[in-house]
């Protein structure tokens, strides 16, 4: 056991010295995730509201104006422009001045009064799928309620749905996005720090020197993981404080459990950084590889898109991404107040992944160490 991790303590001590010596990198490493947290935390809002809308009212009647008011009252549409011709209507959508175009035909009021079906055209710009989906369902809703009101004047509707959104009652986007963002920010910072540190040693020839000493590959790797793990853990605490104080995201579960369950994730991303460092010859290469892990972690981890909606192949990939499990842990504890009993499997999977990658990195390292 002692032989397997030989050299761990001196390597660990030296790495702490590097960290304290290189203030620039340290500040950069700690401040950058914080900056991104502020940027993305404030910028991302998935609730679709106030879609710019252009209206062509050919009917110009009391009925048509009432329908337009109903659309505007939904908070989803905001009438920006009134068009005077069909061309102008299409033109406004094409130019991006409006994302929804509503055309009420000249016979709208007449059709209503004769009891036949009045059709209203709703053009939706499909280039943003979440806007399009929201626009379609809301306009259907508007039409449906308006129809019912005409059929049952003054009466009460037989069915009413009263949705109760659990855990995030105001459906605040920050509550949903900031916890997931923690995983992404921690991952980028940690992978970069540890991968660059090892590749720097390769570039400077100190790694070659170390291979000639009795230091064991695992001693070197774990010795490097500890300081950067400590650093990332500190950053995690800072991010959680900002999340709670600035973004007012309530933590429903146990904070200590959250910190504890973060350790397997840190282990995994540190190990991933080590694997990357065995593949990269230069710091630039390591940087690119580290950046390459971001997009899959953002798009395939369930952070933004639901995993269940992905094609089977990508669902498979998402189960190989560490962030998938950590996002479950973070959202579970912060948003739903989940406990260890609900989340332990995620921690076990992360730990297994991390250990596997450390051994992979150590083996790879031994193979190349000689070259």
């Amino acid at each position: 056991m002692k032989h397997l991790f030989y050299g761990l303590l001196p390597v660990c001590r030296k790495e702490f010295l590097h960290v304290t010596r290189d203030r620039g990198t340290l500040v950069f490493a700690l401040a950058l995730p914080m900056l991104q947290l502020f940027l993305f935390g404030f910028a991302i809002d998935t609730n679709v509201r106030q879609i710019p809308t252009v209206v062509l009212d050919e009917s110009r009647t009391q009925e048509s104006r009432r329908l337009i008011e109903r659309f505007a009252a939904s908070d989803v549409f905001k009438v920006r422009v009134y068009a005077t011709s069909q061309d102008e209507l299409y033109g406004a959508v094409r130019a991006g001045k409006a994302q929804v175009g509503i055309r009420i035909p000249y016979d709208y009021a007449r059709q209503l009064s004769t009891g036949s079906t009045a059709s209203v055209l709703v053009l939706v710009d499909g280039s943003d799928s979440s806007v399009a989906g929201q626009a379609v369902s809301t306009s259907n809703g508007v039409a449906l309620t308006e129809s019912l009101r005409r059929v049952i004047p003054n009466g009460t509707l037989p069915i009413e749905v009263r949705p109760s959104v659990l855990y995030n009652p105001a459906t605040r986007a920050a509550n949903f996005f900031v916890p997931g963002l923690i995983a992404i920010l921690l991952q980028v910072m940690t992978i970069l720090l540890i991968a660059l540190s090892l590749v720097r040693e390769r570039e400077h020839g100190t790694l070659e020197q170390l291979t000639m000493t009795p230091v064991a590959p695992l001693g070197l790797m774990v010795g490097k993981m500890i300081p950067y793990g400590v650093l990332a853990f500190g950053e995690l605490c800072a991010i959680l404080i900002v999340m709670r104080v600035v973004f007012l995201v309530p933590i429903h579960g146990n904070v200590l459990l959250l910190l504890f369950m973060s350790l397997p994730f840190l282990l995994t991303v540190l190990a991933l950084g080590l694997v990357i460092s065995t593949k990269a010859r230069t710091q630039a290469e390591a940087f690119q590889l580290a950046m390459g892990t971001i997009l899959p972690s953002v798009f395939l981890s369930g952070y933004i898109f639901l995993i269940q909606n992905m094609p089977l192949f990508f669902q498979g990939i998402s189960y190989l991404i560490p962030a998938t499990y950590y996002i479950r842990i973070v959202r579970g504890i912060i948003l739903r107040g989940a406990g260890l009993g609900d989340l332990w499997l995620n921690g076990v999977i992360l730990t297994a992944m991390g250990c596997a990658m450390i051994f992979l990195a150590a083996r790879q390292f031994m193979k190349q160490g000689a070259r």
Binding site: V11, G205, Q209, P214, A370
Partner: protein, 309 residues
């Protein structure tokens, strides 16, 4: 002589490329063994194999009697290694670098203190202990690298082109240190491509195209029949303008090779054609000399190149 470093028909292949081909030699205690060869000839590969980092494809080697195939970890505790890259952490101070290597070699704190004092005295680096390694001059970096490489009192020291890019004064200072250590029984394996450095070594091996071509003391090598084939002589032509004369000397009958050496021309010529040569160069003096180490290695290299053609 008990061999401290021993290569026994060592062959190392990377895929289809043979980096080291059937190399055997032995180095005794306290010896300074020089290993010469052009870049890419397999010098570093042999060092790595001898330190147990590269399992040989065929043959084996022994360091202090330990087999490089089986006792790699143990071997690394007993050998020191210093390369031209120095392997220093430039953002750490001299003291921190030394302390790190003391830790890596598993010295306890009392022994580390003791050894730090000893290597400080040997290398004279005391006054720089609190300076960052990156701020040292090349010569001092090299002394620090040596201090780190011997912190665990290794019995064997591998130096891989230790003086590449170092000024002549620092080079001489380093060699003085090496002689001092070898006097205390440390065995050295030094690779270089400086001929004058090779001439300081007790014995020299010459590796070319992955093969060990020649091995022996400097005077052994100078007398190698391959370097001075029978019937030929190594001569020095002293003349006023050697560079102008070089081309015509090369074309003369009986001249095998000729090169400028300082202000003279060194040539390998048929002994029988020497009088004719002197006759053709009335204003120059032609004298027989011992071949320099460089002459020997150039001649050997040409021979191999011709044979492999």
């Amino acid at each position: 002589m008990t061999a401290i470093i021993e290569a026994d028909h060592l062959t190392i292949r990377f895929g289809s490329f043979t980096a080291v081909r059937d190399v055997s030699f032995a180095v005794g205690r306290g010896e300074i063994f020089g290993f010469l060869g052009p870049n890419g000839s397999g010098k570093t590969t042999i060092i790595k194999a001898l330190c147990g980092l590269l399992p040989p494809s065929e043959g084996t080697g022994r360091i202090l009697g330990m087999d490089i195939r089986k006792d790699a970890a143990e071997i690394r505790r007993h050998v020191g290694y210093m390369s031209q890259k120095f392997g220093l952490y430039e953002d750490l101070t001299v003291a921190e670098n030394i302390a790190f290597y003391a830790g890596v070699y598993g010295l306890d704190s009392r022994r580390a203190r003791e050894r730090t004092r000893e290597v400080q005295e040997l290398t004279g680096i005391e006054s720089y202990m609190n300076r960052r390694a990156g701020q040292l001059s090349g010569g001092w970096k090299q002394r620090l690298a040596l201090a780190c490489a011997i912190i665990h009192s290794p019995e064997v020291l591998f130096l891989d082109e230790p003086t590449a890019g170092i000024d002549p004064v620092a080079r001489r200072a380093l060699w003085d240190l090496l002689f001092q250590l070898s006097g205390r029984g440390v065995t050295f394996f030094v690779t270089t491509h400086y001929m004058d450095e090779a001439e300081r070594c007790g014995r020299v091996g010459y590796i070319y195209l992955s093969k060990l071509i020649a091995i022996g003391s400097v005077s052994d090598l100078q007398r190698l029949p391959e370097a001075s084939p029978p019937g030929t002589s190594r001569v020095q032509i002293t003349t006023a303008n050697s560079s102008a004369l070089l081309d015509s000397v090369r074309k003369m009958q009986g001249v095998h090779e000729a090169t400028i050496f300082g202000r003279e021309i060194h040539a390998l010529v048929d002994t029988g054609s020497m009088p004719a040569l002197q006759a053709q160069l009335p204003s120059s003096s032609v004298t027989v000399i011992e071949p320099s180490l460089e002459d020997v290695f150039v001649t050997l290299t040409y021979r191999i190149m011709e044979e492999s053609r």
